[in-house]
Symmetry: C2
Subunit: 144 residues, 2 copies
DNA sequence: TTTATTTCGGATATTTTTATCCTATTTATA
DNA sequence: TATAAATAGGATAAAAATATCCGAAATAAA
C-alpha cells in the first residue's frame, strides 16, 4: 500500500510530534531507534518532509527535528503521504492505465473508486496529533 | 496499490476470459498486445496464474491460455491478487510492523482496517466474469 | 572565534521489482 | 514419426526502491 519510505515517514512524524509536545527536538538517530528503521535512510526521508514543510529542522548544536505543536491538529496523514509517495495513490489508475476516467474507465474503475475514496477520507481526516496522543497514552505502538 | 505484475495479471485474466467465452485460447503475444504490457514478463505472470490454478494453459500447437468458462462467475479478483502479490495486502500492517493486531496495534491500525476491509470485500466480490462482460460490451477498457 | 554538534546533500551500494532472452518440453497435425 | 507451434522455466539484464557513507554547511555555546 505505502512504500517503506512512507511508512518510515509516518512513524517518524509521529515520534517527532510526541517530542514536540514537550518542546524537545529529536535526531535521526533517536528516531530510527524508536521506529526501528535504518538511520541514514530515515534521515533522507526527514529531509523530504522538511522540504515539503511537514516538519521543521534546526541545524547545529541543540538542533534536530520538530513540528509546530500548535499546528499538530492540522497536519494530516495525507500531507505526509503526498510528500513522500506523491499523489499517485489518489489519482493513479488501479490497473495502471495512463488514461483512466469516467469516459474511459479501466475494468475496476468504479469499484476501485470507492476504496480509494475511503482511503483518501481516512488520510485527510487523520491528524498527526491524534496519532501522537494514542502513542503517548499507550493505545498504539511505533514498533513491534 | 498493486504491483505491476498484479496489474498485468488482472488485465491478462480478463482478456483470456473474454476469449474463453468463445472457446478461443490466446498467446502471451496476443495478450501483451491487448493489455499493453511487456510480453516476456507477462508470460512469467501467466505461469504463476497457471500454477495457482486461476487459469489453464495448453502446450503445443493450437495451445494457449484459457479459463473454464463455467467457473468464470466464481473466479474472484482476490484469487488473482493472492496468486501474484500474496496476501500481504490483506494481512500486512499498514505501517509495516511485524506484529500488529488488536492487542498491539500500530498507530493507524483501526483506521486502516476499515479501508482494507472495503478493499478485501471488493476483491472477494468481483468476478472475472463481470469484468470481462464490461470489456466485451465496451463499458470499460484494457488499455488507454 | 573556535569547537562540538547537527542537518544537508551528493555519491555509491544493495536489494527488489520489472523486463528480456534463450533453450527445453509438450502437443496437434501432416 | 517428423515437424511446427506453443508454453515452461532458468539465466540474465535493467530499472527502481531501499539503504549506506562521507564531506559540506550551519549553529549554539564555550
Amino acid at each position: 500500500m505505502f512504500s517503506k519510505a512512507c511508512e518510515y515517514g509516518i512513524k517518524a512524524s509521529i515520534f517527532i510530534a510526541i517530542n514536540s509536545f514537550e518542546d524537545k527536538r529529536v535526531s535521526p538517530k533517536e528516531i530510527a531507534k524508536e521506529i526501528n528503521s535504518p538511520e541514514a535512510f530515515t534521515a533522507k526521508i526527514l529531509q523530504a518532509l522538511v522540504r515539503h514543510k511537514v516538519i521543521n529542522s534546526v541545524k547545529g548544536a541543540y538542533g534536530g527535528f520538530e513540528v509546530n505543536k500548535n499546528e499538530l491538529k492540522h497536519i494530516k496523514l495525507s500531507q505526509i503521504v503526498k510528500a513522500i509517495d506523491g499523489d499517485n495513490i489518489y489519482n493513479g489508475c488501479g490497473l495502471g492505465l495512463e488514461k483512466c476516467d469516467e469516459n474511459h474507465p479501466c475494468p475496476v474503475h468504479e469499484k476501485f473508486k470507492e476504496v480509494r475514496n475511503e482511503l483518501k477520507h481516512m488520510l485527510e481526516n487523520t491528524s498527526l496529533e491524534e496519532l501522537a496522543l494514542d502513542i503517548k497514552s499507550g493505545v498504539s505502538f511505533l514498533k513491534a
